[in-house]
Symmetry: C2
């Protein structure tokens, strides 16, 4: 039996009710947006299956579903940069969650060592989409933390 | 031919390069996180196919792919609450974008009339996941704007 009730078919119950009935997509996932509880900076976007969402709510430590590895993922288990969840929110149609977190360890969420995964801006230049790095530096050495082959 | 180049197979190019090569998922979508460019508030999470992403970058008005309707969606076309994009960012593995926007019209992004779609917090109570409304009020009347049947 599922921990979360099935989503309401009634739109008013889904949008205005007090029951959390997450709407997992065809792959069994909801989108999870992670911001810093202190200054609101967007840190990362991940995905959660039912188990990851339940563990996050129950333990207060963010868990995700790694789409690339196909495994449950306790974020920060290797690096020590656990995400301590201060608040979870959901949106009107309950297919996304927002985690406000305090980041442990190096205060860095991105596996590249940076604080946030969103370190590059996008713009069209001469008809092509180009990226510009914001210069945010690494707060830890990924090779030392994950091993050089990762 | 696609507007965006195919994603680099080389991880360093994907993570550190200056070419925007969005990694659309199996459904042809990337996740789009929308925050207010002024105070950083998380307003909504949506999805973009290639056309929506290209139009957003070219016009400076946020476009999405509506998964529920299966159509391109110029957000705010009915309500007047267009999202004027001040900056677009992407994340380390280029499967998500972050839009910093100025909201037009009623300064409300949610179709329920609220400023943000994330008006409810989630917590476990007596073994069940419950929602608590933050009391943010409607900034416009959805029935009047969309029609009572929507």
């Amino acid at each position: 039996m599922s921990f979360f009730p099935l989503p309401a078919s009634d739109k008013a119950a889904l949008e205005e009710g007090d029951r959390f009935t997450p709407r997992f997509d065809g792959a069994g996932l909801v989108t999870a947006v992670v911001t810093d509880a202190g200054d609101g900076e967007l840190l990362m976007v991940g995905h959660m299956n039912e188990e990851a969402l339940k563990l996050t709510l129950e333990t207060g430590i963010a868990h995700f579903w790694s789409r690339s590895r196909g495994t449950l993922w306790k974020k920060g288990e290797t690096s020590g940069n656990l995400l301590h969840v201060e608040e979870v929110r959901t949106d009107c149609d309950q297919d996304a969650v927002w985690l406000k977190v305090a980041v442990g360890g190096h205060d860095a969420t991105c596996h590249t060592g940076r604080r946030s995964c969103f370190y590059r801006s996008v713009r069209i230049e001469d008809g092509a989409a180009r990226l510009a790095d914001d210069g945010s530096g690494a707060k830890f050495d990924p090779d030392a933390v994950y091993g050089a082959s990762d």
